[in-house]
Symmetry: C2
Subunit: 452 residues, 2 copies
């Protein structure tokens, strides 16, 4: 029998997250205060985050221990399996060895609980009673709602209004976990009211929802803000994925020549790739790393590496990242988790350093890839994950063309059981691709703040 699954025993689960900041040849540019233009310090972030997370944000220690309580919860679904996609290889008739790490086995169906549980834990430790966050399609919001239920923390989620209306099922999941879900823009914040005054019919955006969540968290002394991607500590928590994958590839007696991940804010991509990139940065082992983003929201492939705000109302600090501008509102592609105007500063920094590559793919290619994957491997991927599948299939077909066998590892960050409307629309021929002109990109970037 050919082995198709590499599963670590529970006691082989990593007990520390990997911090890539320890191995960077140069540190990423500092985060700046939007008022002064000066680098911010831990105290500037204290109204929004517990100190433990702020310390992780700036830490340069290579490994940061996963607290015992967090490990216990992780063990409910971790270590997650790593699969050899033998039937997909056969369907593609490729000499490539395709591996995928599968994060859809978590209770929320995606990788997001890896950081949600950690964040809820640290907030509870510091006495926080309420967590406020935003969500697009709802993967993040439902994960934080679950983590809040575990740690007895109230969760308030500002959900982008178009998703709130069109995707009631993840909202129902959040509410089942006990969270309160508010359609954004809302009347509950200054940021929301200002948007509604100008655009009463606004269907919202992630940037607006972040503004609302940050505003509420900053004003409530018992509340903190929680973000599901982009920030260093969020990426850090996701590295448990790649740490496991390192051990599992060793079990498989193989090592990836290429790692593929999909990118929205960058957290699942970082999770699978950073531990391998660490070995590359330390000169131990080389690997090609490919970030795949949607053509409809191409921050790394079409955006600018510049200081920008993380939100629409300009409430966040300024971070240097690949961005399409904080006013950019991507079209309604079904990969809601990839519809963010910016990219994690650490991922952007690695791209600038030439350590990783980035490509963008069109929506129709991603769904075709997802269907092919489902028929071969059984798992129907989330639309976000389809971008990674599409990237991996491209590389596998290149192996076939070149007659070379390479090991391709990608992260299947979630299942698509909540996303079947997207597949219905795809199979009915209702989806389309998106291509921006140079002029459109330039217009989106025109609103960037003038900070160097």
């Amino acid at each position: 029998m050919k082995t198709v699954k590499y599963l670590l025993a529970e006691d082989q689960m990593p007990t520390a997250w990997y911090n890539i900041q320890a191995d960077l040849p140069t540190p990423p540019p500092p985060v700046l205060h939007p008022g002064t233009g000066q680098p911010i310090g831990p105290q500037d972030l204290a109204p929004l985050f517990p100190m433990a997370l702020i310390m992780q944000e700036v830490s340069t220690e290579r490994f940061i221990e996963i607290p015992e309580e967090v490990q216990t919860i992780y063990r409910q679904w971790r270590p997650t399996p790593l699969f050899r996609a033998r039937r997909l290889e056969q369907a593609l008739d490729t000499p490539a060895r395709i591996y995928y790490k599968y994060e859809g086995v978590s209770p929320a169906g995606s990788h997001k609980p890896n950081t949600a549980v950690a964040q809820a834990y640290y907030n509870q430790q510091e006495g926080v009673k309420r967590l406020v966050t935003e969500t697009g399609a709802g993967q993040w919001g439902s994960s934080l709602a679950m983590a809040g239920a575990f740690f007895g923390i109230e969760v308030l989620v500002f959900m982008v209004k178009v998703s709130y209306q069109q995707k009631p099922y993840r909202r129902a999941l959040m509410e089942a976990y006990g969270a309160r879900v508010v359609a954004s823009p809302s009347e509950e914040t200054n940021a929301g009211r200002a948007i509604l005054a100008e655009h009463p019919d606004s269907t919202g955006s992630l940037g607006i929802a972040i503004s609302e969540a940050v505003e509420v968290a900053a004003q409530d002394p018992e509340a903190k803000y929680s973000l599901g991607s982009v920030l260093n500590h969020v990426l850090l928590h996701q590295t448990v994925i790649g740490e496991e994958a390192l051990a599992q590839m060793e079990m498989a007696g193989d090592y990836p020549d290429i790692i593929v991940g999909c990118t929205g804010g960058g957290s699942n991509f970082s999770g699978i790739s950073f531990p391998f990139i660490g070995k590359k940065l330390r000169g131990e082992r080389n690997v090609r790393v490919v970030a795949v983003e949607p053509a409809a929201c191409p921050s790394m492939t079409r955006g600018k590496y510049a200081y920008d705000f993380g939100d629409t109302a300009k409430l966040t600090p300024l971070v240097k990242m690949h961005t399409l501008g904080h006013d950019f509102v991507p079209p309604g592609i079904h990969a809601g988790g990839l519809r963010y105007h910016g990219m994690a500063p650490l991922v952007s920094h690695l791209l600038e350093l030439g350590v990783i590559e980035a490509i963008n793919v069109q929506q129709l290619e991603t769904f075709a890839a997802g269907i092919q994957f489902a028929r071969a491997e059984g798992i129907i991927p989330a639309p976000e994950a389809n971008h990674a599948v599409a990237g991996a299939i491209r590389e596998a077909l290149r192996c076939k063309e070149e007659g070379v066998s390479r090991a391709i590892l990608f992260n299947l960050c979630g299942h698509g059981h909540f996303d079947m409307q997207a597949y219905t629309d795809y199979m009915a021929g209702k989806l389309r691709d998106y291509e921006y002109s140079e002029k459109e990109v330039a217009m989106a970037l025109a609103g960037l703040p003038s900070v160097e």
Copy 2:
């Protein structure tokens, strides 16, 4: 750290299914030919099933080897985890030790692939090109669609019309796997046309959909019929669940005092319980086994143990089972997988023998249990599985009342990610309970065939 998960290594996965027919004190009553009233033989079933499955249907060997190809596919998600529900225990403040086996980690999100994969394999071995089946909510149909994709077999699914219209997402999943899905009653069969002639607005039922599927399969020499529950061979394939649970309870250093499973046709209940019941029948170890069915479809608790048809159009053989009558159409409770008028003959036989118990629970209690479970354990159960959760919580609370610690094991047969509309309706107060009068039950049973 308290262990919460008991996970077998891949090489500890059972390599044989357990056949309870080897250990029964008396065999179940024979299956009868509807025309002659005489026991049927293997040849009578040959138009509908491959011979390997027919032989399993009547086998009395204790263990039947799982074919290598089936094991390989099982290993993608098996062995499935067994959890100690420590946070639920805490929430209930019970001295009970609650364990649950979790089948929602399969690609289709439920236990159904355990038999779908096996059935597709045996059909492929015998050269079958097409499989025809029915589905209610779609858990079974999507599992067979997936298995068909793996083995290159076309799959045609007659989906109960009300589900086809109201639950488009499992339909989309079936179609993504490449299956053709037809709303039942349809114009494609005599059975369907006859129903539509009389009731043009019929929203269908499982009994009608079975009639359509059986008719198509019987007429197409390259096609066979496939059923997702009730039959002996289907229950057999599900025993991999209980075989794993036996080993996992041993890992936990514990043994269930009580096993709880939800019952529709009886397959997941049999899967978790039969290996334990086998030990009970052989006098090795006692255990209480509780089948939990919906009050809205109470075949075991309110029905009659009698010979009845498996379908509405009376195309199937007659089987002795607990039944509400083949014309019974249960109300539209959200646990679609439990809306079947009959019960698996083997399960019915065990109930008659006094080896197992049966209770029914109301819909609202099951959803309250599901929400409590989700907040404690993170996994949101399918509405069907909520019946098992409700039964387990009842037993745990009884332990509390009595001040006794017992080990309770239940099967969490699937996640509820496709069923969030049900939770939305529940949280909005739109669901109700159902209670039948004696007269209503008697009327439903009036149509039973007069066979003893």
